[in-house]
């Protein structure tokens, strides 16, 4: 669902940025274009080549999609609501190690790309998957280290716990969100999130000008669509994580919080409003993905590695030490 809408947003958004119209034929504003795309993907011939490694070739798209979907399970979309008298949190699995779980599961997504490239037995695919592998492993470190600061400040690895502790405000108008308490971690995490999802300016695995289409060059039909979907779902997960860790998840901004709670609404309506608050934040980050994609050029490979290892990892380490001192002396 999210994928189909995002493809539409991506195409219309890119057209908007480049001064084009974009897909506008199927349905109002071209909104049914994604459905047409899905039908096209399913109807398309599923091509095999004699030189591919058949089993791994079939396995790879599934291996890249499953971790992406699994990671979504731990995202808290809203607070606890009541359905037919039952207390239900708007979260599929409230794990007390939710944050580490998401990191672990999304680190498995590499295998899909790696296998896809290798099984295709094509030099472009293979180069693409090697690049992607090196890139994701490197940026995972910066990603993990930047989260440590957030865990230290909010004292929990459970995502729902972190969101609850981001409620309230300093001086009545500055929210206690991660972006205020951990601005450096926010920037690092955001950059690493772009690299982890293989999006521009870090889309070296599929750099069209160099590698045809990267690791999925040999794929067609629904198998290609699975790779495509897993990329978009990974984007969605990363946006959710950004919103959860740094923009207070489903919390309202301080002023609006008092306003809405002053109305005396029932728990369920509040739940829906909280979900909307979360959704708007996620949409902002998703739009940034599209925005950045059509704004920045691609990094060169050595530049990207230098940024990851020589800039982001040291800054993340410094951030952890600073957070430690901050917690020791100011709280």
């Amino acid at each position: 669902m999210n994928t189909t809408i995002m493809t539409w947003v991506e195409r219309r958004g890119s057209a908007f940025i480049q001064g084009r119209i974009g897909p506008n034929r199927v349905g109002p504003l071209g909104l049914f274009q994604p459905i047409a795309d899905v039908i096209k993907f399913i109807m398309k011939e599923d091509t095999y080549y004699p030189h591919v490694n058949k089993w791994l070739f079939i396995l790879a798209p599934a291996l890249s999609l499953i971790p992406a979907v699994l990671a979504l399970a731990a995202i808290p979309f809203g607070p606890v609501i009541q359905i037919f008298g039952y207390q239900t949190p708007l979260q599929i699995a409230d794990l007390h190690i939710g944050l580490i779980y998401i990191l672990a599961v999304s680190s498995l997504g590499i295998y899909g790309i790696l296998l896809g490239g290798w099984a295709s037995n094509n030099k472009y695919s293979f180069l693409g998957s090697l690049r992607s592998c090196a890139q994701m492993v490197s940026y995972e470190i910066a990603l993990g280290l930047s989260i440590v600061g957030v865990i230290m400040v909010y004292g929990s690895t459970s995502l729902s716990e972190i969101v609850i502790r981001q409620g309230g405000s300093f001086l009545g108008f500055i929210p206690k969100w991660g972006i205020v308490t951990q601005p450096l971690a926010f920037i690092l995490f955001w950059i690493a999130a772009f690299a982890e999802t293989n999006r521009l300016p870090f889309d070296l695995p599929e750099g069209e000008t160099e590698l045809v289409a990267g690791y999925h060059t040999e794929y067609s039909g629904m198998k290609f669509a699975l790779f495509f979907m897993s990329e978009y779902i990974a984007m969605f997960t990363m946006s959710c994580l950004l919103a959860t860790l740094f923009l207070g998840g489903w919390q309202f901004p301080p002023g609006i919080h008092e306003l809405i709670y002053g109305l005396g609404l029932s728990t369920n309506i509040l739940g829906v409003l909280h979900f909307l608050s979360f959704f708007i934040k996620v949409c902002f980050f998703l739009w940034c993905y599209v925005w950045v994609r059509w704004t920045f050029p691609r990094f060169r490979y050595d530049q990207m590695m230098k940024l990851g290892w020589k800039v982001m990892v040291p800054i993340a380490l410094v951030n952890i030490i600073m957070t430690g001192f901050g917690l020791r002396f100011f709280l």
Partner: protein
Amino acid sequence: MSQILFYVVALLSLGCALSVILQRNPVYSALSLVGFLFLQAVYFVILRAYFLAVVQVLIYAGAIMVLFVYVVMVMNLSSDDLPRLHFKPVSIFLGGLFASILFYLFQSDKPITRIQALVVENNITEIAKLLFSEYVLAFEYISFLLVVAMVGVVVLNQRTQS
């Protein structure tokens, strides 16, 4: 329910483990090892040691094995390139040694108490408490060892480049 799950996972992981050593193609071997390590995480989930399970996936399946698979794929050896090793007496001896150690461990009925800390709810705090009180020395030793290994790798790499 968890018993059925245990037997299914046990069979699967045995299959994976056998395939690690029996496959001729190194890529398949490495992939079977990934599967095996992932199934080990499932054991930890059955034991309710969620933190261990997640760390198992994150470190072994997600990081270390990715590099293994990466290297094996870059070398892209076919089974003909590999020398056929004949270490039969040695391997029988080592296998026997390992089996007897395992047998000894299963025979002795020492109660395993420390594992309890890994099983309680919210075990991340419990593990942290144990690590920084009772096992703090071992913990520091291991970190020291890792730092030494890391510095060693960097030094060795630079020597080969210049």
